[in-house]
Amino acid sequence: MKRFIDPCCEKCDHSKEKPCQDFVECCTSGPICHESEACAAKRKAIMEKASLNEHFVII
């Protein structure tokens, strides 16, 4: 998962064809549809890469 649009695992199936209503919230606070520390860590890794400081991410 390099970008938020990439699925974190096989459980995520958001796509243009099959959109998820929670997609935007899921990017920074997900995963929402399932529980997985590994999937949450993947999102965190994307955010940490671009975060300039501790105030950067606004949830």
């Binding site: 959109p19 935007v24 990017c27 671009a50 300039l52 501790e54 949830i59």
Partner: protein
């Protein structure tokens, strides 16, 4: 993970002062030292302080480096990035700070600003939708998708947001008109045809945070029931257009633009239309005509675009900054926060482009209600070269000028209108004591006259007649009755011109007559231009008390009109002098004075 983030301003202002070369040097030097993975380099949007560009801000340290050149890069890498020591000589320094300002927030230019619309500019990579989302982006749209159209419109109405493009019409009301209008098809149009000389607020928003405008338009579309939008952007903004295209592509890939957005059955698509640069195409009905492929000319209103706009369909048209405000209002808890800023009749913030004779030129975002004095002297750092403030032109060529006596005027829609100016799109041109206010009125009127589309007689003919009168006054052919003629013509044009541009174009003339009447009288009765601008109405004279015979003025004179030996008094031959002003700029003792044109007898004596 990166050790540091290096945010270089990649917006048009800094690019023109060489930021691309600085970026290239940084890339090369980091690669040469094998450090490219430790430090992230981003061409960001505009941090606003254009005067001191190229700008680089190092995060997380928040150290602000300015006026960089490629030659500074090895030292910056060696000392700061590797050694952890701030390079003091590259920090901001100026008369408004006691010592070099190390941190972003300690620079006076930023201290009175309230960055809301510009909160991402210079902070994120404008080419990354992920970073926009990390900063809370698309949350407001996601929320709006769950609301009923009238619920969205009510929030925008309650926010008190007024159009940031010029007229200040309440945005929520405009959206309600479009929502209630009957039509099988509706459009949302973004006016990015920023045409005021010296104004670049919209360009900076588009270059620094393009997704904010896209999100604002998506929310508007959801509210009014539209499935198609246009962004009308002038072709002179190639970077803004490139970034917008990329942002739309990304939002489409993410399922935020297109069909059945986020599964709510809502569809929306964007088209970018490049304008050819006609000033009149910033007027909404002319802009719509231009999108339709017709000549950009306004048409009478009503019907307003909300009822009959693009291809006669109901159309919601707002400008870039207005749309960029929308996500701030619609996000969770955003409305309450929004209402905390501004005045009773003017909520939120306003982005201004500070230009002219002010020390700190650039872009600033301030809360509505701040005084003009604070903008010019605290943020702008006062007048260049220690000269005196004379006036500030607010609202572009159709705006008005505010004199010294009005410096404490709160900057909001109603106060500015009462003072004879307009908020306009946000251009602020500051003038010092060397500006002639009659010439200024002539200059702005010549701009609007040239840009008049010619459709209506008051604007086409009236501005031409006004311009002829002003040219006459500037050339010494004026008479006092001209002031009445100017006033009558101005009022006539205001009352009868077809569009907003025509109706407001006499503003610079009316406001200069109102606040600088004495200067007009001097031009007409004494044939004297005190500021030394109107060439037929003054002479240069070297003050014997002040001249030390340094020869600087004589050396710079392009027509050899100045004579005198070193260490002796110099003299200007008025017959030869072409009043270019080069000698005045060069003289360090202010020995060259502006005096009325002398008669032959006076010269001989």
């Amino acid at each position: 993970m990166h050790d540091k983030h290096l945010m270089i301003c990649g917006a048009t202002g800094c690019l023109s002062s060489g930021s691309a070369k600085v970026q290239e040097a940084l890339e090369e030097e980091l690669a040469k030292r094998g450090l490219q993975d430790r430090f992230r380099l981003v061409m960001s949007g505009c941090p606003g302080f254009c005067e001191v560009g190229p700008i680089l801000v190092v995060y997380p340290d928040e150290v602000f480096y300015c006026r960089l050149t490629p030659n500074d890069i090895p030292e910056l890498i060696e000392k700061h990035l590797i050694g952890g020591e701030v390079v003091e000589r590259l920090l901001y320094q100026g008369p408004d700070v006691e010592a070099p300002a190390r941190f972003y927030q300690t620079i006076p230019f930023y201290q009175k600003q309230k960055l809301k619309v510009l909160h991402n500019s210079g902070i994120i990579d404008p080419e990354s939708i992920d970073e926009y989302i990390m900063r809370g982006g698309y949350r407001a749209f996601s929320r709006a998708l769950k609301l009923e159209p009238m619920e969205i419109i009510d929030e925008v109405k309650r926010s008190g947001l007024r159009g940031r493009g010029g007229a200040g019409f309440p945005t929520g009301l405009k959206w309600e008109f479009t929502f209630r209008a009957v039509g099988d098809k509706k459009y949302v149009v973004c006016n990015a045809d920023e045409g005021d000389p010296g104004a670049f607020m919209d360009r900076s928003i588009l270059e620094g945070d393009p997704h904010a405008v896209i999100e604002g338009m998506l929310i508007a579309a959801r509210a009014v029931g539209s499935d198609e939008g246009y962004i009308y952007c002038r072709a002179e903004y190639p970077l803004a257009i490139k970034l917008l295209k990329k942002a739309i592509e990304q939002a489409t890939e993410y399922g935020l633009v297109g069909e059945n957005i986020l599964g709510y059955g809502f569809n929306f698509k964007f088209t970018i239309k490049e304008g050819a640069g006609a000033f009149v195409c910033g007027e909404e009905t002319a802009l719509l005509a231009s999108i339709e492929g017709k000549r950009g000319m306004p048409r009478p209103r009503p019907p307003f675009p909300a009822n009959q706009g693009l291809w006669n369909k109901p159309t919601c048209i707002n400008n870039v900054e207005t749309f960029a405000n929308i996500p701030l209002i619609l996000r969770e808890g955003g409305l309450e926060e929004y209402l905390d800023v501004g005045t009773g009749g003017s909520k939120g913030t306003k982005v201004f482009a500070l230009a002219g004779k002010v020390r700190n030129t650039g872009l600033c975002e301030v809360p509505m209600g701040i005084s003009m004095r604070e903008i010019i002297f605290d943020i702008g750092g006062g007048i260049k070269d220690g000269r005196e403030f004379k006036a500030v032109q607010v609202g572009g060529p159709s705006g008005g000028c505010i004199p010294t006596e009005q410096l404490d005027l709160p900057v909001d829609y109603d106060s500015l209108t009462q003072a004879g100016a307009i908020m306009g799109s946000g251009g602020l041109v500051v003038m010092d004591d060397r500006t002639c206010m009659v010439d200024l009125a002539r200059y702005f009127l010549s701009f609007t006259q040239k840009e008049s589309c010619g459709k209506c007689t008051p604007c086409r003919e009236g501005t031409k007649r006004m311009l002829e009168i002003l040219e006459g006054i500037c050339e010494g052919r004026g008479e006092m009755e001209d002031l009445d003629r100017l006033h009558d013509l101005a009022v006539g044009i205001k009352d009868t011109a077809l569009c907003g541009l025509g109706q407001t174009c006499p503003n610079p003339v009316l406001s200069t007559i109102r606040y600088f009447h004495k200067e007009y009288e001097e031009h007409i009765n004494d044939k004297f231009c005190r500021a030394g601008v109107c060439k037929s109405l003054f002479e240069y004279y070297i003050d014997p008390e002040a001249c030390d015979g340094c020869t600087r003025c004589a050396r710079v004179c392009p027509v050899d009109a100045i004579s005198g030996e070193r260490n002796e008094l110099h003299i200007i031959d008025s017959e030869l002098c072409n009043r270019c002003g080069s000698c005045v700029e060069r003289c360090t003792r202010e020995a060259i004075k502006v005096i009325p044109v002398r008669k032959e007898a006076e010269v001989k004596s």
